[in-house]
Symmetry: D3
Subunit: 226 residues, 6 copies
């Protein structure tokens, strides 16, 4: 009833690193405002900023058995993405599993559930984005799936998709789109540099983006305080 | 259908600075336990402590157009207060708008919605109290209102009211009450200094505030563990 | 209608200190995965790690009068545990009460409600686990109970039980079980040291815990990406 | 510290009745998409549909004393609007208070907190929109305000404003705008009758509202399934 | 690791039936405003009104195995009370288990988790108070406890305690207190009959309860609208 | 930037009708406990039970323009499935759109957002499963997608997939799996008939499913109340 898929494809490492540099907000915009995981996923420490290839892992509520199966499929540069089959905030993950993932070069964990040992994870510098911090222990009774597509925090993720995560949250980029998105992100960032300088100098967005006429057309009126 | 009011009145700068010094809890108490915004507004970094005159901005869900209109109305010492017309956690605000506000001397942002680029905002030292951290981009299609009274996180705010915000949350003080509230806050704080010293020395609140008789009257009994 | 019980028994100080050392996740596991308070209780600053004897305090919504009654019952090494009789997030507790508790040697506060003055509490190093940070002031009109058993954040707590709290949350250990739980926690931790080393060296949990056969029995299959 | 304002003005009864007939969605649209209370206010039974003049009542958390003060200020055709000074879901209101309000001709209750005796209220046909159904009893210790403006479920309400409530929720109309809003609602409803008939006959909104060109302009493309 | 306790004591049937008649709000008040389960427990159909002896059942998240164990311990007149060891909203219970409980004379189910087949349960007239309606299936892998004390929706429940549930929610009465609480509830109800008649006749609570002087003492002032 | 796909494939009508007959819980189990949408989607009236082919519609927050585009793609027997690109509870849908959908033979609406006019929808017998009931009006400014795959309430839905919805919630069945799932559901239901009869006769699940030995193996012990 469970499946573990081996040897999934990954995106190019240089593209992944480029996406990591741009961060979540820029990547999300660059690919047309899609791909965000829900805002209830929060980093256990800040700042944190990673990107990597998704190894996906679907688990039963209160059962972390499949995480051990998933570790074996991880390669350096991967990000483990875990979603329970129904809402759960148990502590699926702690410092032992983090030690194991770190030993295999995994860059971080995205989990739509709970984690524990967050003081230790913080000391280790192992970044986690989770729904909850909760020490509740789990069992090892029910198998699930590794490296099948899954929905995590409202976003569809295929194994090998690129995960970008930072203080703003988590974003997924389709593996096949990663290079193009990185290129668009680069242009977006270049474009923003000039804007930032003008705004820092006190110029108004109203003027830089030439908004006044269109605002008036839509019915905006300016009046003085009576 | 949208209105932007210019040249709103502000409270006296020295009163605003005094209120900033006292902080949210003291100001809230000093004005009779009113004026708090809901506790779901949290600072994106801590510690943070500001006060300023409210420039209010009402926005459509998922549409940050009016923020650009609001920037033009801000003066040094202001605090921008943003509320959507229906619940939304999109990322209305990021480092570019923060750069613009900072260039105009704005002290911080209060927003009953989401923000992004929080790592950059933290580096810039631009304080924000928000409902969510979420990278979701917004559109620029619908006009709203700037400097009309609005309800933000459950509190009524008039343009020019004084906003006080710190690690405890956000409080609003009516412009016309600001000087009197500052004076009451000063007295309250003076009074607390003595109390703090007595409590630090081990005296009990029960004795300092003479509570024992009234507690007994209300039916409290002390018994020893059987 | 209210009762304050004096001279409750406490667990042995050395046992309490041992439990503090192990932390919440280990203690929770050691006693059979029980005793956690709900995950909505979060520390106001991190890192924080305490253990102590519970002095329990049941309060009316929006009424912090009984906290003053509870302070008198606290001894060095205690932890104050506060629960409202119905859900409330008001700021029952601030720097004055913290000063008082600190003067009496109390190690921290667990409260299924709100606290305020968190910047000051952070500077004082007085740890608090709360449901909310909210400056809302409270009244002193209704008596409650001190040192009766209560349910706090979903967990039953008797006065004198041992409270363990750290960045992962809060756990309660029955006073009568404390020594045995500490011993089990010690064994668990010892056992984990070896596991951690093997995992750090790259060995898989699948092999260390000999999981492959049982996974296959339960129906897990490994396949290669097509 | 508390104030009870007597003899507040009301809107014209015929205007109120007209607004009741149109219902919440139509009234909300007619006045420019403003005035809704938050969606967490739900009717305790359905269908229910009322309109009336707001008598406002601000209460302390867990304290229903002021409801008795408010009853005296109610006249036939009024709607009682209750908001706590901080979030609370206690059962402020039950069948005795409903009996009292019904005896004074009050049309219903809007409360951003809890109610109880809902089986009896349903039998009595006394409609309530509340945040929770909860039997938790309240005390009578702290005074509040009657007939001062307040924020209830995120909306500012002045005493004498018109409250419209039905299965869709609750809407407030400023007293001074009530007649004009009723007139606009009448026109909106008339306009919808024709639209409804055309839609029922199978005509598309795309054609009725002539949307195709503007959709294409905004970039929408139609393609056939490959 | 699991325990099932047989032959628990029950309260007297006539007392249980009396408590059922009074309902949740009255019983809760009669025993001093204690014993309510959290308001997130809602009946799957209304009206519903039961009382019975608690058979308690603690389950793992997503695992309904112990419900079968609990059925065997149920006798006519019992109410099954189920709580997961960590938050879960899976559908632990459906029409088959309801058929089984109904065959054994069980009056209803209280579950701090999810249920399914609610259309069938409604047709069967089998009342359930639950946290969620959710079809998610569960496994049968982990043992728990039957008839040990547990915390359900924030309330401590011992096996054999009396559960009272109606449209207002759920209340627990200690078995040893049940007769006394029933008697107090009877007096309370008798007292309310007179009050209800006076209120129905238009008398004010302000006068019936003689509140005016005490309100004034606490600082309430009446003023006329300016 | 938006796409509307025409002429999507549908599953066989007889299979869809069969799935409707089985209902959500049985279908969910028959396909291996997958496919449920989150439990926050609730029917606006009960009972309600439908199945149909998904026409998917992705909308901007607070913008219902694309619903008009989607209506044109609907055929008799379809179910419209709507998801916003970020969380929103505005009232995207009311009686006019329902009239239009009903005129085109659509069986119901699934929307991870709000709806209004629920009294009218109830009278019309047009079933809706939604996240909220909220009258908040929406704009028509931003295009989205029709008949692209989307995630709705945590579940991935392709256009043409079969949606089954009843009082228990909503389930999706892949179009290609529909016939096989219907067959498995038929067998499951047949199997349950016998079980139901035995349970109704008082037989225990413990015996019918032969659970005692395995429970004991897992460590369950039965003891008598001391």
């Amino acid at each position: 009833m469970g499946l573990c898929v081996r040897n999934i494809p990954r995106a190019d490492a240089s593209v992944i690193d480029a996406l990591q540099g741009f961060g979540v907000a820029t990547v999300h915009e660059a690919q047309g405002r899609i791909g965000l995981l829900a805002s209830h996923l929060r980093p256990i420490f800040r700042p944190a900023k990673i990107a990597g290839s998704a190894v996906t892992c679907e688990v039963a509520p209160g059962d972390n058995w499949m995480l051990h199966v998933a570790v074996e499929q991880c390669r350096p540069g991967d990000v483990l993405v875990v979603a329970p089959t129904s809402p759960c905030e148990d502590g699926y993950f702690g410092d032992l599993l983090a030690t194991s993932l770190q030993a295999h070069g995994v860059r971080g964990l995205i989990i739509d559930a709970g984690v524990r040992d967050v003081a230790e994870l913080t000391e280790m510098g192992f970044p986690v984005w989770s729904k909850a911090i909760f020490a509740q222990g789990t069992v090892k009774e029910t198998v699930g799936n590794v490296n099948l597509p899954l929905v995590c925090a409202g976003a569809l993720i295929h194994p090998g998709d690129v995960i970008v995560a930072d203080d703003d949250g988590v974003c997924v980029v389709r593996r096949g789109d990663a290079a193009a998105v990185a290129e668009k992100a680069r242009k977006r960032e270049a474009n923003e540099t000039d804007k930032r300088a003008r705004l820092a100098a006190g110029e108004l967005g109203l003027d830089i983006y030439d908004m006044r006429a269109r605002l008036a057309e839509k019915g905006l009126r300016w009046v003085d305080e009576a």
